[in-house]
Amino acid sequence: MAEYFGATVADIFNTMPKRFKPEEAKDVDILIGYEATGEGGGMWTAHIKHGTLTVSKVEELKGCKTTVHADAETFVGVTLGKITAIDALTSQKLRVVGDPRLLMTLLPKVFVPFTVIPKKKEINVRDILATTESRFRPDKAEGVAMNVGYDLTGAGGGQWTLQIKDGQCKVREGFADVLTVKLIMDAGVYAGMMLGTIDGTAAFTSGQVRIEGDMMAAAATGRFFHKYADPGAQEAEELICLRVTNAIDQRFASGPVMGKWFAGLREKKFLANKCPECGRTQIPPREICAICRVRVTEFVELGPAGTVTNYDLVYFASPDPLTGAGRDTPYAPIYVVLDGSTESEAFAFELKKEDLSRIKVGARVRPVWAEKPTGSFRDLIYFEME
């Protein structure tokens, strides 16, 4: 299978169950489809449902809420972070049908990032078994007594027994007289499982591993050992990425001029102030007119209705700076010249979501107020079209 950046597309999906973080996906119910084109490609689906994950290789993508399409090289590159997802999206080497935010938000949350597993040139089961006794964790195997047989077939294979008893572990060639459980698999599959390139559960489900005897005992053995580390793997430089989330509690004084504005909102009024020299109506009001450099003290009520001069139909979910959460898209801030305003003094606020599809320059809009205004920007809910 074609390798890119040292990994295949199949590697990504084979390691998915191992990289899955069920606790992060409790409230998630989504079927994601993947199509990698070109050499080494294929189609897969990942069904995340209430903390469970099912990965399937499929012939067609059916019933998926979101599908991801890319050539195999881009697919591996983006997954490994060798190609920036946003750049791949921009150049359209990567296409997402449905919600592209999934790639940036959900997936990093529910999966441990995929990394290339350095491969040993020769898979040597004996090397791995030689470390078994030293990897044993007696504290985890208190009171456990079992004999686990391994029947490893194919090149480099053989038969071994792991004897766990009295807080000790011994590895012997051949089978003990009594086996609690026997695992039968290809030596390559065993090595792959130990190296982390093959997922044990998936290998069992697909029939690559057969278990004879106490199935529960087989599942429990992993706990008794430290993970095998490939001594031939290149030691990565110690580059650590620290994750930090800042939450800042702030308070701002309005001052008397904006104080008057907020007091006006409490009475469902737009109170602008009017420059004594040029006559422009500043909304929201400001302490001085910066053009004439004079204090502005006269307040006038504008609107409440007005005319739309421009608008931003927003699809990209930027974080709401007041909460930090991604905003619900699409939404539209609109620019409005309120009735009674001077011609260059527009006002901006959000449009009612139901009116998004009808919005156009020149549309007439009116404010919709909160039931009990308190003197904050939340007093104005949105503008709606007349």
Binding site: D87, T309, V314, F316, S344
Partner: protein
């Protein structure tokens, strides 16, 4: 505005950049600063002992690191030297060059190092930009630097088909320039034939502003060394590039004031008009040999070309359609690939001045303009509509204009 009184002439004698990318996991901020500073010192054949003062710039709002110059002093070499830190938004990098120019021109320092850095991958750019909005009002509406209003205006003025084609022509032209610049962050290899398909299918960000139109978020650092005419004339490693003049302007007004029935003069237009006026330049397209423009999106770029060159009607579209802005055109725009290709915000505006200076020196690299470049224009941009505009010259031979 009265003519600025410059005490003495100032030359750019050293330029250093890091590569620009979104993958600088192998370097921390200090190492990036150091790489740019070392490159600038080597370019000028100087050591840090030759530097009298350092001007440092970074948009702290993005990485949320207060006083980053303290940390970065490990890479900038500021220990034991006078140092100033500037933070002016998207214009930071250009403000640094302006400030360094002023510091040398004043006579306070002979040789000044300006260094700018941004590592956007370590912060939240859109979140940071959003926090520039008035905390009492409008912050709840701000969407970072993303807006579809310019696209709407261009479509209304020139028709959907022509406006969209112009934005894509500009975008793909920038990619073609970026393909020649080995330091550029995003190099897609786009062809003009892809324009209509990309314009129709690229994900929408805001209205007709699509992903393909928008600039990147990059990591990068840039450093420049400026010195006095007296020092420069004693000999420099590379040909000196002279800073002729610069201007800055921004709006105190809230963003909605740009969208009334009557549009105020844009800061770009204001700066260009004032700068040309006081330097006796009547035809900027004819005068300048290159313009490195701070172009955060293809839509803004197309619109701003009209503002910066004081063009009327659809002159800017005609020029774009004719290929006047191509690398071998009448007035090449952004041979580097511009901000659309690479955008390490604080360094971005300095890169405009740096790339313009490299063009004058004639050693920009594969994206060097083939003709001789004698007069260069470079711009910086930031929120809330802040313009910085700079003129660079190959020869110290311009006519002083008395107009103040």
């Amino acid at each position: 505005m009265k003519k600025r009184k410059k005490n003495r002439n100032v030359a750019i004698i050293g330029i250093g950049q890091t590569s620009l990318s979104s993958h600088k996991e192998d370097q921390n901020q200090v190492e990036m600063v150091q790489e740019a500073v070392i490159n600038a010192l080597q370019d000028a054949n100087l050591t840090i002992n030759d530097i009298d003062c350092i001007v440092h710039g970074n948009m702290e709002l993005f990485e949320m690191q207060f006083a980053p110059d303290l940390w970065h002093s490990l890479g900038s070499g500021a220990r034991g030297k006078d140092e100033y830190r500037l933070t002016t938004g998207g214009t930071v990098g250009m403000t640094l060059v302006c400030a360094a120019d002023n510091l040398v021109a004043s006579g306070l320092y002979d040789t000044v190092l300006a260094v700018s850095i941004q590592k956007l991958q370590e912060g939240n750019t859109t979140g940071g930009i959003t926090n520039m909005a008035d905390p009492l009002w409008f912050r709840n509406l701000q969407t970072g630097a993303l807006t579809g209003t310019t696209a709407t205006e261009l479509i209304n003025e020139f028709g959907e088909e022509r406006a969209k084609r112009a934005a894509m022509k500009y975008r793909i032209m920038m990619d073609k320039h970026a393909m020649l610049n080995p330091r550029a962050h995003r190099r897609f290899g786009l062809e003009y034939e892809q324009g209509p398909d990309l314009a129709a299918t690229s994900p929408q960000l805001v209205g007709e502003l699509r992903l393909i139109h928008m600039c990147s978020q990059s990591d990068g650092a840039c450093a420049m060394i400026l010195t006095s005419e007296e020092r420069a004339k004693k000999g420099t490693a590379k040909p000196p590039v002279w800073i002729r003049d610069h201007i800055q302007a921004h709006r105190e007004e809230t963003i909605p004031n740009l969208f009334g029935y009557v549009k105020p003069e844009m800061t770009h237009h204001y700066c260009a008009r004032k700068l040309y006026e006081r330097n006796g330049i009547t035809d900027p397209v004819e005068y300048f040999d290159v313009f490195e423009m701070y172009d955060p999106s293809a839509w803004w770029a197309v619109d701003w070309l009209r503002e910066f060159f004081l063009l009327k009607g659809d002159e800017h579209l005609q020029m774009l359609e004719r290929g006047d802005f191509d690398l071998d055109g009448r007035i090449p725009i952004n041979p580097s690939g511009g901000v659309i290709a690479s955008n390490p915000i604080s360094a971005t505006a300095m890169l405009r001045a740096a790339e313009a200076a490299l063009q004058i020196r004639g050693d920009a690299g594969p994206h060097q303009i083939k003709r001789e470049v004698k007069h260069a224009l470079a711009s910086g941009f930031g929120g809330t509509f802040w313009t910085a505009l700079m003129m660079l010259e190959k020869d110290l031979d311009w006519q002083e204009v008395e107009n103040g």
